[in-house]
Symmetry: C2
Subunit: 126 residues, 2 copies
């Protein structure tokens, strides 16, 4: 069975404190990352924490981009989930790394939706 | 370095079609999953696709819960990211599996924020 989607979890380190702590900038960069990857933006929600940090999600037709920032550590935890062939989640991760002025990004991709339930149900019914 | 968070990617199969295609029910179950896990809900955004499917995210103080549903496949792609010791992402995944009347859930946990940039920078500067 072909996977339904690709989900990249990216650890982005050595980012600019001011960017990671600015909810408007984080939202703008996340939306642009989605567009850069060829996605269609549907909904956005961002939240600013006190004393610092931003969490937010861009819901796209092809799934989502999510971020949580620790400005004091220069760290952003990002995940980008895309379905279909049109959008490449790595394009979004690379765009974010550049625009957060990050020094390092490590990431891994997981295929989503590849374990059909049918064989399990057949086995149970035998 | 202790990880900053835990991120569980869950594949939930054999779910009830009507639940997965009902934006209000999906949102209610997702919010309750967050509360069940001990999280504090900050923001919610959900989107209904045509002809079927729901995408949505619950932003919590401890990070987020996200979902994308394929009602026609009985499949929900869920991810739950939590920070701190108080909230267990597996509690949320188990709650969702039960409340989607699912037949099967497979999941894996990834530790987030465990690769500090400092050693990399030191190595580069040597």
């Amino acid at each position: 069975m072909k996977p339904l989607g690709r989900h990249v979890l990216a650890e982005i380190y050595g980012c600019d404190f001011e960017i990671l702590n600015d909810i408007k900038k984080v939202e703008e960069i996340m939306v642009n990352a989605a567009l850069e990857a060829g996605a269609e933006v549907r909904e956005c929600v961002f939240h600013k924490f006190s004393p610092q940090g931003v969490s937010g999600v861009v819901v796209i037709s092809e799934s989502h981009l999510a971020i949580h920032t620790w400005p004091e550590l220069g760290y952003a935890a990002v995940d980008v989930f895309t379905c279909g062939e049109k959008v490449d989640p790595w394009d979004a991760c690379n765009y974010l790394t550049t625009n957060f002025s990050a020094k390092q990004m490590t990431a891994k991709e997981t295929k989503r939706g590849i374990h059909p339930v049918t064989p399990h149900r057949v086995a149970v019914n035998m």
